[in-house]
């Protein structure tokens, strides 16, 4: 690091392939799509420049003006709750695995298994399990006399969103767990050993040695979880439907975008593009803030 960079022709050779492929096939179409938010649309045909009119529609049109803040709130809750559960469970499992347990390899593969299945399938399987009529969850509760707890899990606005967040944890937990496992494995054993020699118990070792050294991993997990929470789509679609039901209690930005773009009126494309611009600004801004924040913490540690 900090060493003089190679001359620019060499840099270009290294950077150009990725830069071109990425710019031509991803950034360029996306930038174009964002730019489209300033135009009038009829179906998939672009009309004249309309300035910020699509944005005005987005914030002014009923019921979009109700749904947008609600979806934004849901995404935020989704991020906070997912973070809390995933970090604690993922870290717990990673720490437990580090102690060495029989069948570790098998268990670890099992934990990552849901991640490999399409979200639509995960959604289908869980809606079957939580089904109020045939589902084993309610049947089980009734069998042990807890009839009062049995409910239409995905049909009750108070439980639907929490259930979706839990299913999401089930779906995604393997990933933070792997990241933490990797982070733990990267910490040299001598650090903990030295602390133990100084008389620290295992909790103190964890709290004062292991935990701070995991800061970079927390950073990665936070940024990736944040991005994922604000882009979540397939799983919520499969469990709550495209309207984020029941009664909008599971509506998120991804669904709102999809509905606006592909189920709206004739001018749908412009309004949806405006929504995408807003989503991009929020996600990008917040991700950059998180990144800066973690860099500061790390800098403070070393």
């Amino acid at each position: 690091m900090g060493r003089a960079a190679p001359p620019w022709p060499v840099l270009v050779v290294f950077l150009a392939p990725a830069f071109l492929l990425y710019t031509v096939f991803l950034v360029f179409p996306l930038a174009q799509a964002l730019f489209f938010s300033l135009f009038e649309w009829t179906g998939s045909v672009r009309g004249g420049f309309v300035g910020l009119r699509n944005f005005a529609e987005l914030f002014g049109r009923f019921p979009l003006n109700e749904q947008l803040p609600r979806a934004f709130l849901h995404n935020t809750i989704f991020f906070v709750v997912t973070m809390a559960i995933q970090v604690s469970l993922g870290l717990l499992f990673a720490v437990l695995f580090q102690r060495g347990i029989r069948g570790k390899q098998f268990l670890r593969t099992v934990y990552v298994l849901p991640f490999m299945i399409s979200p639509l399938v995960v959604g289908y399987v869980w809606s079957l399990i939580l089904n109020p009529t045939f589902g084993p969850v309610n049947a089980g509760l009734k069998a042990i006399g807890l009839d009062a707890l049995a409910r239409p899990w995905l049909g009750d606005p108070t439980t639907a969103f929490p259930v979706i967040m839990l299913v999401n944890v089930w779906f995604w937990l393997g990933f933070p767990m792997l990241l933490f496992a990797a982070g733990l494995a990267a910490i040299p054993e001598d650090y903990a050993e030295a602390a133990r020699v100084d008389g620290a118990n295992s909790w103190q070792v964890f709290r004062h040695v292991t935990f701070p050294l995991l800061t970079p991993v927390f950073g990665t997990v936070t940024v990736l979880t944040f991005i994922r929470s604000f882009n979540v789509f397939g799983l919520v679609w499969a469990l709550g439907g495209v309207d984020g039901g029941p009664a909008g209690s599971t509506d998120v930005l991804g669904l709102l975008f999809y509905r606006t773009a592909f189920r709206g009126g004739v001018d749908a494309f412009g309004v949806a593009s405006a929504l995408a611009v807003i989503m991009f600004l929020v996600i990008f801004g917040a991700a950059m803030l998180f990144r800066a924040w973690f860099h500061r913490i790390e800098a403070g540690l070393t």
Binding site: L20, N131, P132, G241, D243, G245, A247
Partner: protein, 457 residues
């Protein structure tokens, strides 16, 4: 050291290949084309359309080899359509028809790109009423009125399904209509001494008797995304109460709106229905509600003519009947059966065989096609003189023809955002959850629709 040597040549080869790919991609036209791409589509579409019509009419002889691609959102009908098109191919040598179905939920998506460029379909299955408008206004479909003869087989009401809101021209040949009524399990009705109701009293008696005997009287889904059924069920039960066709006329003319006390009362009827639906109905999905009916836990199912195929395939032993819900005592219109056109088939303006495509679509409006369609796809065809074989399906047709009423929101209030049916079904769910009163639901529907709907327009 030898470790280093082993890995690198292979990796470098990969890198070189990657570089080559990128170079081809960018050199092959990236620079001149990328910026204009989309902005020109509008203009392009219209010019291509005219050119196509000219060239094909002028130079293409009838018997030339042509393959027509038909896009559809009905994967379950693939075999049936292939058999139907075999008949057309036999009568039209040189023509091959290829049926390509896509997953229903992503069909609109696929169309928005498929019709924007080349390589799309020649003939397109088109969504109904409001759903077709973005394609029409984008100039992506060929107008068919005055172009093909078989349009005369359809009533003006039927053609509304594929008519442009702004230009009033017709862009598709309707393929099916659906009707909604009450399926009932004859064995259960016999067991309890019940029969098809003709009065409101008999209807409520059926509900109470079934409930008393431990059956779920009516199986219905109300879990998103299957709430779409609710807006239709509302018309099935409530149209006589709010005034049916008369109300439709008045609300379109601006003489009344959805806050009308009769419309509010019809929404309240959905509340009265709730005790007779499955427990926790807001968690019951479409598939679940059908399972309750075929396993005979539920005695009735309010559903569409399109369900019959499912009953026949999955519960062939079930003895089923169908009836319409009688009008309530305070009704202001007679008992009626809800129905609507399911969609149409039209011609892609970007097709390179517009004439051959028109000819195929023209045939799809003929009695020959209608007969094949009812027979093989087992749905109701709007073409006069077509009679379905299945007695249950035939009964649906009779019920609708006797006293038709529109699926109000699909037929009239899907032309803008937010859609009327979405507002209504969300409202009904909130009402069932105790979060809204019938008045508030009606107000919500009115507020939403008035964002884009101008009466009398």
């Amino acid at each position: 050291m030898s470790r280093y040597g082993r890995g690198s040549p292979a990796s470098l080869a990969v890198l070189l290949a990657a570089l080559a790919l990128v170079a081809t991609a960018c050199g092959g036209g990236g620079t001149p084309t990328t910026t204009q791409g989309s902005s020109d589509t509008g203009g392009q579409t219209t010019t291509t359309k005219d050119e196509m019509t000219d060239t094909t009419e002028g130079s293409m002889p009838e018997a030339e080899e042509v393959t027509l691609t038909v896009w559809s959102w009905r994967p379950e009908d693939e075999d049936a359509y292939n058999e139907i098109f075999d008949v057309y191919e036999a009568a039209n040598p040189g023509v091959t028809v290829e049926f390509v179905p896509f997953v229903n939920t992503d069909y609109n998506n696929i169309l928005s790109t498929g019709l924007a460029g080349e390589g799309g379909p020649d003939v397109v299955q088109l969504r109904a009423y409001g759903g077709i408008q973005p394609l029409i206004e984008a100039g992506q479909l060929v107008p068919l009125d005055g172009e093909i003869d078989t349009l005369s087989n359809f009533s003006e009401d039927a053609l509304k399904v594929s008519t442009g809101l702004k230009d009033g021209r017709v862009y598709g040949v309707p393929f099916a209509y659906q009707a909604f009524a009450v399926f009932y399990n004859k064995a259960i009705f016999d067991e309890l001494g019940l029969s098809e109701p003709t009065t409101w009293e008999e209807w409520t008696n059926i509900l109470d008797t079934l409930k008393g005997a431990g059956y779920i009287p009516i199986s219905t889904p109300a879990k998103d995304p299957d709430t779409w059924m609710l807006a239709i069920i509302h018309d099935t039960i409530g149209a006589p109460r709010y005034g049916g066709r008369q109300f439709e006329k008045e609300v379109l003319a601006g003489e009344t709106d959805f806050t009308d006390p009769d419309y509010v009362a019809s929404i309240a009827m959905m509340n009265d229905l709730l005790p007779y639906l499955p427990d926790d109905v807001i968690g019951v999905g479409y598939q679940d509600s059908k399972t309750l009916f075929i396993t005979e836990a539920a005695a009735m199912f309010i559903g569409g003519s399109f369900e019959i195929g499912f009953w026949r395939d999955n519960a062939p032993d079930l003895d089923l009947g169908v009836f319409r819900v009688p009008a309530p005592p305070d009704a202001i219109a007679p008992a009626s059966t809800v129905g609507w056109m399911d969609g149409s088939f039209g011609v892609n303006a970007n097709s390179d065989a517009v004439d051959a495509a028109k000819k195929l679509v023209e045939w799809m409006g003929s009695k020959e096609f209608g007969d094949l369609f009812t027979k093989k796809i087992k749905q109701l065809s709007p073409i006069p003189g077509t009679a379905p074989e299945d007695p249950l399906l035939a009964r649906f047709g009779e019920l609708y023809q006797e006293s038709p009423v529109s699926y109000l929101h699909l037929v009239n209030f899907r032309y803008g955002d937010p859609r009327g049916d979405v507002l209504l079904r969300e409202g009904i769910v909130k009402m069932w959850l105790g979060e809204m009163t019938p008045e508030e639901v009606a107000q919500r529907v009115q507020d939403g629709i008035s964002q884009w709907f101008t009466p009398g327009g």
